[in-house]
């Protein structure tokens, strides 16, 4: 479904790679947490999957397509198979809940009939059936995120990317969002979620991929937020570091420098 082959991403302004020789594979229907400190490369990873960025080295395959060989003209059509959710919701403030979700379908040329059917369906699924005509600012944060999720999945994407979807929400609202994501995952959608929320990761016990300074330091089948097992990939250049927990802090301080 998603395969990274020795992917390195360098940004012009920074000598240190955002991702350093990352290789991993995510299979159909998996629910994967991407954890790590700010600046560890989580967002770069998601952007690479979306082909918002191109890798400096290495190859990325998503949904059977080699992203390096995807012409920019075909990128929009590729993205129709992916749904994306952000921490800051990114709803259109002047459009109602219904229109926010319908907008996605309108701009990819779906028919009016299809939209009239699909949008109420998906809003029912995310639990917003009674609020279709509200404007975003009339909703709570959790409800806004549900709208964003509805917008992401209304076109039935094969993959749902979520970049800290619970980052702005309180714990109980977050739990509701996670229940929703779990339900979406059960429907066969691959979910890849970048998060800082230790409680959620520990509780869900799903596959966890941990990034530190652009390298995968842990890839566990049913992991928690903090490492409890021996990392799958070697530490490489980090051998000199005293302990694992310190590395996380080091990564954080590097990002805030």
């Amino acid at each position: 479904m998603i395969r990274f082959d020795q992917v390195t991403k360098l940004y012009k302004s920074n000598a240190r790679p955002a991702l350093n020789a990352v290789s991993l594979e995510i299979l159909r229907g998996e629910f994967v947490f991407l954890v790590g400190a700010s600046g560890s490369g989580k967002s770069s990873f998601l952007r690479l999957v979306l082909k918002e960025e191109t890798p400096s080295r290495g190859q990325i395959h998503v949904l059977g397509q080699n992203l390096g060989q995807l012409s920019s003209r075909k990128v929009p059509y590729f993205r129709r198979n992916l749904g994306v959710v952000f921490q800051d919701f990114r709803l259109l403030p002047q459009k109602s809940v219904f229109d926010n979700v319908a907008f996605t379908l309108q701009v990819i040329g779906k028919s009016k009939g299809f939209i009239q059917e699909a949008v109420p369906d998906v809003l029912r699924m995310v639990g917003l059936a009674g609020k279709t005509n509200r404007l975003p600012h009339e909703l709570s944060g959790g409800e806004q995120q549900r709208v964003a999720i509805a917008r992401a999945i209304v076109n039935k994407p094969a993959i749902l990317l979520a970049d800290e979807p619970t980052g702005n929400l309180d714990p109980s609202t977050s739990a509701g969002i996670m229940t929703l994501l779990e339900r979406i995952s059960k429907g066969g959608t691959t979910v890849l979620m970048a998060t800082h929320d230790a409680g959620i990761v520990d509780q869900m016990q799903r596959r966890v991929i941990e990034l530190v300074a652009g390298q995968v330091v842990r890839d566990e089948r049913q992991g928690g937020y903090q490492t409890q097992a021996v990392p799958v990939q070697g530490f490489g250049g980090f051998g000199a570091q005293p302990g694992y927990g310190d590395i996380g802090i080091a990564g954080q301080s590097e990002a805030t420098r």
Partner: protein, 304 residues
């Protein structure tokens, strides 16, 4: 469905950037009016050239008793000399170039002079014998006048060979200069118009960057994203072009036909037809410029 969506996006954009759209309309209006004026002037020059080329002739003035210039020695050109000129004109080398030749004797020249200048002071002192007898030659191609001049001016009894077109050259160069000035102003204004359209579209895209971001994220095609912006620029520019076309037609109808042509009857002026030829040119120039500058301006937002 999609057409409706695109048009509503266009409408939103035009309303949101109302003041910028107005300035785009005004700048395209003025710049294209200058373009139109330049084209009209070229038409006018062409018209006048055609008119005078049909009428302007090469005149061969023969000697009179009073003339001492050219080959004249204060004696009237003799019948033999006239025959020699006629012979030359009938020779195969020149006959091919000539449409018609008319000979005017003293009396005829005097009559023509009286008709043209009879009411000027001093015309009473002119007698028929003061005015040279003339061969008026119409050429098939007026550009060939030097050939006639070369072969006739050395003949005895010929005072002067004059290509009457040269009297018109200053008029044409004045009109040409006016036309070039109009083109220069038009080019400057068009540059301003193109930059203004690009800025307007950037502004419009910036105010819609949330929508654009989401469109790109959910996989709207580039064409779908850029079409509303290009249409926005084209519509604004087309309104300006229509105004410029109206201005051009008004200029032709009321100034050229209604005023100039009334003032100087019989002089060749461009008509309504030429004005109508300019209209589609202006519309196409406006639309193409707007479309290209808008698509360049929006391109930055489409990079994936």
């Amino acid at each position: 469905m999609r057409f409706g969506l695109i048009m509503s996006e266009v409408g939103n954009g035009l309303r949101r950037n109302f003041s910028m759209v107005i300035s785009v309309i005004l700048v395209t209006f003025i710049s294209l009016t200058f373009v139109g004026a330049a084209i009209l002037l070229q038409f006018q020059i062409g018209q006048m050239k055609g008119y005078w080329n049909d009428r302007a002739q090469v005149a061969v003035y023969l000697c009179t008793d009073n003339s001492s210039t050219g080959n004249c020695k204060l004696t009237e050109a003799t019948a033999d000399q006239k025959d020699l000129v006629k012979e030359q004109l009938a020779s195969p080398a020149l006959a091919d170039l000539i449409k018609s030749v008319t000979f005017q004797n003293h009396k005829q020249v005097y009559a023509q002079y009286k008709a043209s200048f009879g009411d000027t002071t001093g015309s009473d002192f002119i007698t028929p014998s003061d005015l040279p007898e003339t061969f008026s030659i119409s050429l098939k191609d007026p550009q060939q006048a030097p050939v006639i001049s070369e072969s006739l001016s050395s003949l005895a009894g010929v005072e002067q060979v004059v290509d009457q077109r040269k009297y018109l050259d200053p008029i044409f160069s004045a009109l040409n200069a006016a036309s070039l000035t109009a083109v220069g102003i038009a080019v400057l204004m068009l540059v301003a118009a193109v930059l203004l359209i690009a800025t307007t579209i950037r502004l419009s895209a910036f105010s819609r960057r949330r929508e654009l971001g989401i469109m790109r994220l959910v996989g709207a095609s580039n064409r779908f994203i850029q079409t509303p912006f290009i249409l926005e620029g084209v519509i604004a520019a087309l309104i300006g072009s229509v105004l410029a076309s109206v201005a051009v037609v008004v200029i032709v109808k009321f100034f050229v036909r209604g005023y100039l042509a009334e003032q100087s009857q019989g002089f060749p002026f461009i008509g309504f037809g030429e004005g109508l030829i300019v209209v589609p040119i202006l519309l196409v120039v406006g639309a193409v410029l707007a479309a290209s500058s808008a698509s360049v301006a929006i391109g930055r937002y489409l990079k994936v």
